[in-house]
Subunit: 361 residues, 2 copies
């Protein structure tokens, strides 16, 4: 029973994924006599938490309600009052939560103790799916850096574009849908001015129900992004990272500019990623060309890589994803997913400590 | 019931796969009162057919036996007597077979008519798994050329060997097992003297139960195969195809030599494949380097391609499988199979007529 209601709370939380940063996405379900009587999810920082939205839907003082919530309820004043107070005020009988909030303030205040002191039963009921859901939030909380996921679509011969980098559709419609879901559920999309100028992408999430504009971070060392790029119309906000030695003569609307130090002639990528964490983004989704794809991996800044592989051969003159050997040699955890006539390889770099990749026989 | 017994007959037939050429592999099951009372399979040309082996196991004249057989029973004298006679002599009540023998002699003699004339009930009960099993036999029967299956193991960047072609283990143990099964179930393995001289492979089928030696065909235009190559000890027989202009000064034991015409400086590959068909081989399994891999595809001589893809990057200096663009563009039927941390892409070139590959979105 607990698992079923918590997974329903997770379904609610997923609806808020990608819009709540710097807050985590949270889903909640109220159950009375074994029946679901309300569901809700957090809509974003500054708005009421999932628990508060949930209890608002209910008539006053129904006895014996169990509240299922994906994340441990908060116990401190932020932009909204502590959920613990709201739960106590309503007279909830039992709280079941799946993931312990790693936020040090919440840990220190001890939600379980606060609730139990008021006679409320509390159960911590972890589930693997919900642990996975909060992986990036936990990573961001403990390191102040975001969880970085990168994708690349390639042919069988490791090419990502045509001759001279000419844009080519490589992967199929199923992979495109996967990309749009990933964009939707990320907090910010990281790209480069080079990609924007070459391909002029929209970089929004085109999903059932319409197009969703996302915050976009652009690596633009020399401030060369075209002023009529499509992203100016299709993004929620643009964060532009440029070489500290270049000053922007003419800032554009809806853009923030951040001067950055350089390393070996390029922007300090670690500093860019850390800065995005400082802005409160937990999940960064990266769509870039071969140069930055390799640089981010080589700098150890990637947490997860999705390689879309399509059954085409673009030939030796096409642009390669792999200027060097051994890019993926340290990956310890890999899985494949069949996507029609394409496959996606998922490399999970966070599991590197657990063992070496076994790819030889 | 019919399906279950025919699939058991297929399991029997699979045991003979790869040793029966020029005969097809056949499995048979005898059923009495709904119970299996005997099973058998054909062991190879010149030995008794599956039906004959089966009936030999049975006491005389059990009434009401149904004989399940993967392939239509033969009706003519070859190296052994016609199965139709043996079935009639025993007094079988019903024959259920899955695949109609495309051999024109058998078609002309009409097994069903012969059996029905003797009061035996006959049912043709086709099954997709058995249709697939006889695909190569039907292809060979109608075209006199064998069914050609080729495999290649590659890295994510389309490389098949290290710098200067240095041998590298690329794919994993699951793929190796797949290769050994494919070798086992093929009639002959086609390779090149270049591959033998560079890698010195055994090219036998190393399967549970031991090593199985196979006939090997070698493309060796200038008769340069090393005289101490391992294949001389690990193969059943060697068929050596050489340029007609080169004469073999010193033939080796257990080898047959075939002078071949050349086309554009290389052996006429179509002539080699047709010659293998003339030797009675239905299934050719090909393990070669990049040059012949491409040449066979470009000449339209491949029926099925297995690409093993491993999650490694060998880099720009490693040997590529793909000297040209667009190698796989005409494939209409592709499927992927996950093999641990590798995947196998299967291209079925025989389905080309049915539609174009949809890999763009």
């Amino acid at each position: 029973m607990h698992e079923q209601f918590l997974l329903l709370a997770l379904e609610n939380a997923q609806l808020g994924r990608g819009v709540c940063a710097p807050n985590p996405s949270v889903g909640a379900v109220a159950v009375h006599n074994g029946k679901i009587i309300a569901q809700s999810w957090h809509r974003g920082a500054g708005t009421p938490h999932a628990e508060q939205l949930l209890l608002k839907q209910l008539p006053k003082n129904i006895p014996e309600i169990t509240l299922y919530v994906t994340l441990e309820p908060c116990n401190h004043w932020g932009k909204t009052p502590p959920c613990v107070d709201v739960i106590v005020d309503y007279g909830i009988q039992q709280v079941v939560y799946a993931y312990s909030d790693p936020n040090p303030v919440i840990v220190a205040n001890n939600t379980s103790r606060l609730l139990r002191e008021k006679g409320i039963s509390v159960l911590h009921y972890p589930l693997p799916a919900i642990d996975a859901f909060y992986q990036s939030y936990a990573h961001w909380t403990s390191t102040q850096t975001p969880w970085v996921t990168i994708k690349m679509a390639q042919s069988l011969d490791g090419k990502i574009a045509g001759v001279d980098g000419a844009r080519t559709e490589i992967s199929n419609a199923m992979c495109a849908d996967f990309t749009h879901q990933q964009r939707l559920q990320s907090d910010v999309i990281l790209t480069t001015a080079r990609t924007i100028n070459q391909d002029n992408p929209s970089l929004n999430a085109r999903v059932t129900g319409g197009d969703v504009a996302k915050p976009i971070a652009v690596i633009d060392p020399r401030l060369e992004m075209h002023r009529d790029a499509t992203v100016f119309n299709t993004s929620k906000h643009l964060h532009v990272y440029h070489d500290v030695r270049y000053k922007n003569p003419n800032p554009q609307e809806n853009c923030s500019y951040y001067p950055m130090p350089t390393v070996n002639g390029g922007l300090d990528l670690g500093a860019v990623i850390r800065h995005l964490g400082g802005l409160g983004y937990h999940d960064v989704w990266v769509e870039v060309g071969a140069t930055l794809f390799n640089a981010l991996h080589e700098a150890g800044l990637v947490n997860k890589t999705y390689l879309y592989v399509a059954p085409t051969v673009l030939g030796p003159k096409a642009l390669s994803a792999y200027p060097h050997a051994h890019l993926f040699e340290t990956a310890s955890h890999l899985s494949w997913q069949i996507m029609g006539d394409n496959v996606i390889a998922s490399f999970d770099w966070s599991k590197n400590q657990e063992g070496a990749l076994c790819s030889q026989d």
